[in-house]
């Protein structure tokens, strides 16, 4: 085996995963899993730098959102801190025709789809429930009930097959995001069954960030999550979810397999939720500081930065410029979030039914009349 190549088992013990960039910033040329699949990437210097920009930007935007929540400008925020590589790597692996079904934490994936990062902020500020068109952005609305979207993704993928859009390199594929906690949900297991039975063009992308709010992985599973796939009859692969290169390589390969008609893959992105579950959570109640510290050493951004510096692909000026650009974006985001108007109260009656309802119409009319009954009301 040549230098810089590595073999890991698809059945490897905990910690065995596909990794193409070590925490110290060393490149691994390729990794071959026990089933004989070899993963590698061949990025240009610019592409490496772009990935770094993505990672820094989504972290900076996330930090701004956390600050906005602490300042009372968002009702809640679900931070992606620590999961930047899993999201940017998988998001960049999508081709334009691919459809993503996120949970409520995939702000990084959203960003890589070229979507204005303000799009989900209505939900977190409390001015709407999301409100975007999934088909316009190839990015479904955020789904909050854990795991429900994996079935939507599966149905959508079945539709791709029914439309005859698989079986060639231009075919379409779906990626379904969920977490380690979601793997206990019946609906997620049903989506595995259905995707296997119908050979759906789908990649199940599990960000195993080690915690479902307070409950550790051991409360969800007795075996590594990626090994569940075997029971459903499709491949499962574990990747270093803090390695943007491995994430990209494996996700791209799995998506291409799906679009080519080879069915589903489960990817377990082994990562860590550096922050709280949401801004309402207090992780100091259930995990120790040394654990968090150990994961800091595996940070997804610092390892790519180390690689870029060692390879002389970027210098301090570049890093400073990236930071500055991310800050500008974040401040712009802040301004726009602050200027998001509250919805008109009467709008709560909008969009209940596509064809309307006489009941809703009557309630709206009574509500308007009631509002108007207050003297000096400007409603």
């Amino acid at each position: 085996m040549a230098n810089g190549e590595r073999e890991v088992g698809v059945d490897a013990p905990a910690g065995g995963f596909v990794q193409l960039l070590t925490p110290d910033g060393e490149r691994v040329d390729s990794v071959t899993t026990a089933d004989g699949t070899t993963y590698s990437v061949s990025f240009t210097d610019d592409e490496y730098r772009e990935l770094y920009k993505d990672l820094v930007t989504v972290r900076r935007l996330d930090a701004e959102a956390t600050a906005l929540q602490r300042q009372g400008e968002l009702g809640i925020w679900a931070s992606l801190l620590g999961q930047e590589a899993a999201q940017v790597g998988s998001g960049r692996a999508l081709r334009p025709q691919d459809m993503a079904f996120p949970t409520y934490r995939e702000h990084g994936v959203l960003y890589t789809r070229g979507i204005d990062p303000i799009m989900p902020f209505g939900l977190f500020r409390g001015v709407d429930q999301g409100g975007w068109d999934p088909n316009e952005y190839k990015f479904n609305t955020y789904t909050i009930v854990i795991g429900a979207q994996t079935l939507h993704a599966t149905g959508y993928a079945m539709g791709i097959t029914m439309d005859g859009k698989t079986g060639n390199p231009d075919g379409e594929a779906v990626i379904a995001y969920f977490g380690d906690g979601a793997t206990s949900q019946g609906e997620v297991n049903e989506s595995f069954v259905w995707s296997g039975v119908f050979n759906a063009p789908i990649v199940f992308f599990c960000q195993n960030n080690q915690y479902a709010i307070s409950e550790p992985l051991e409360r969800q599973t007795r075996i590594p999550l990626y090994r569940r796939a075997a029971g459903y009859g499709f491949p499962g692969v574990r990747i270093d979810g803090n390695d943007v290169l491995a994430t990209f390589a494996v996700t791209r390969a799995a998506l291409d397999n799906a679009r080519n008609g080879q069915g589903p893959t489960l990817i377990e992105a082994y990562t860590y939720r550096m922050g709280a579950h949401t801004s309402s959570d207090d992780p100091t109640r259930y995990r120790i500081a040394s654990e968090v510290e150990s994961w800091k050493a595996k940070d997804p951004i610092s390892r790519l930065r180390a690689f870029l510096a060692k390879q002389q692909l970027a210098d301090d000026t570049f890093f400073a410029e990236v930071d500055e650009a991310a800050k500008t974006l974040a401040l712009d985001l802040r301004e726009r979030v602050l200027s998001m108007p509250d919805p008109q109260p009467v709008s709560l009656f909008d969009n209940v039914y596509p064809t309307g309802s006489p009941e809703i119409d009557a309630q709206r009319a009574r509500f308007v009349e009631y509002q108007a009954s207050f003297e000096g009301s400007d409603h």
Partner: protein, 342 residues
């Protein structure tokens, strides 16, 4: 006599044919499949078997396995994947095999199907029909005789309808599939074999509106409000009451969300008395809401309180005592007597 192939096998010319309610549903589904290539049927045993009640009989043979999909045995999966198919532009018709089996899909129906249009500010339409054979009276084991319509009628974002005649079965299933609203479609399973006239060539555009109540029998003395399997019971009661000189009006609600209140108010203002009949338990059920609304809107017309004849507030009982549980002609007439005795 046959007519040209419309995508399925040649159809018998059947204007004004006498069809069972189940067969009328089958014809309605067939016509929807012919008219729109995006319509797909999915459920357990809907393919080769034609469904446990044979409502999808023969459809897979004519429309193929891609459009009549035998699914894995998982109700959440049926409805959840239907959501994804609908996002992609399909019009899925889901069959839930029995009323008591809908609960594994409850999360998908109530938290996803009902809310997607609202969540997406009108960007995502889910033209999904969820067919549920419901109600008792067939001597079945547990979970096969329930009336869960109230759960769904209570949920904003869903529309809920139920047919009582073969003609309505034929037109309403097509209307439900054609509308962009998500529809929970309750089928009165014990009436599947009852027959009636159906014009299979009727123009859907001029059909009776999906969410309008229908006066099933005109009368002057009291109003019976019923839907689904209880419409037949109410009509039988009205026939019996006529022998006693009481002329009862029977309203078939047809739609439980939204309810056609104007039709109800018009009838009750005319008769001054209302009795609601349903199989579901009475506590906080459809009848409770109807009674509240009628009281509010028809207060000065009422000669007596609105009365309810419903299932008891117990789990659906064993088959050998279900006749005692189910509202029947005598219990309806007893309520009518109580109304007149007020």
């Amino acid at each position: 006599m046959t007519e040209p192939d419309r995508g399925g096998k040649p159809q018998k010319k059947t204007v004004g044919e006498n069809l069972s309610l189940g067969k009328a549903l089958n014809h309605g589904l067939r016509r929807s499949l012919e008219n729109d290539s995006k319509v797909v049927i999915m459920g357990e045993d809907v393919g080769k078997l034609g469904g446990v009640f044979r409502i999808t009989d023969g459809l897979q043979k004519d429309f193929g396995e891609d459009r009549i999909i035998d699914t894995p045995l998982a109700e959440a999966g049926i409805v959840g994947t239907a959501v994804g198919l609908a996002i992609r532009g399909y019009r899925p018709v889901c069959e839930i095999q029995f009323d008591g089996f809908v609960f594994p899909a409850y999360n998908q129906i109530v938290a996803q199907v009902a809310k997607m249009f609202y969540r997406s500010k009108g960007n995502v339409r889910l033209p999904i029909v969820i067919r549920i054979p419901y109600g008792g009276g067939i001597g079945a084991v547990e979970h096969h005789s329930e009336s869960p319509e109230g759960y769904f009628a209570h949920t904003p974002g869903l529309k809920v309808v139920t047919c009582s005649t073969p003609l309505d079965a034929y037109t309403m299933i097509q209307q439900a599939i054609a509308t962009d609203d998500p529809i929970v479609f309750f089928e009165p399973k014990r009436r599947y074999w009852e027959k009636g006239e159906v014009d299979l060539d009727a123009d859907l555009a001029s059909a009776y509106p999906l969410h309008a109540a229908r006066v099933a029998r005109e009368g002057t003395d009291a109003t019976l409000l019923a839907y689904g399997p209880m419409v037949r019971t109410a009509l039988d009661a009205a026939t019996a009451a006529a022998e006693d000189g009481r002329n009862l009006e029977v309203i078939d609600l047809r739609s439980l969300s939204p309810v056609d209140y104007p039709a109800i108010y018009a009838s009750v203002r005319k008769t001054g008395r209302a009795v609601v009949v349903h199989e579901a338990p009475g506590n906080l059920g459809v009848g409770a809401e109807l009674a509240a609304r009628i009281t509010e809107e028809c207060f000065y017309s009422l000669e007596a309180p609105v009365l309810r004849v419903t299932g008891f507030d117990v789990p659906y009982p064993a088959a050998r005592v279900e006749e005692e549980y189910l509202p029947d002609l005598d219990r309806v007439l007893d309520a009518v007597d109580r109304s007149f005795g007020w």
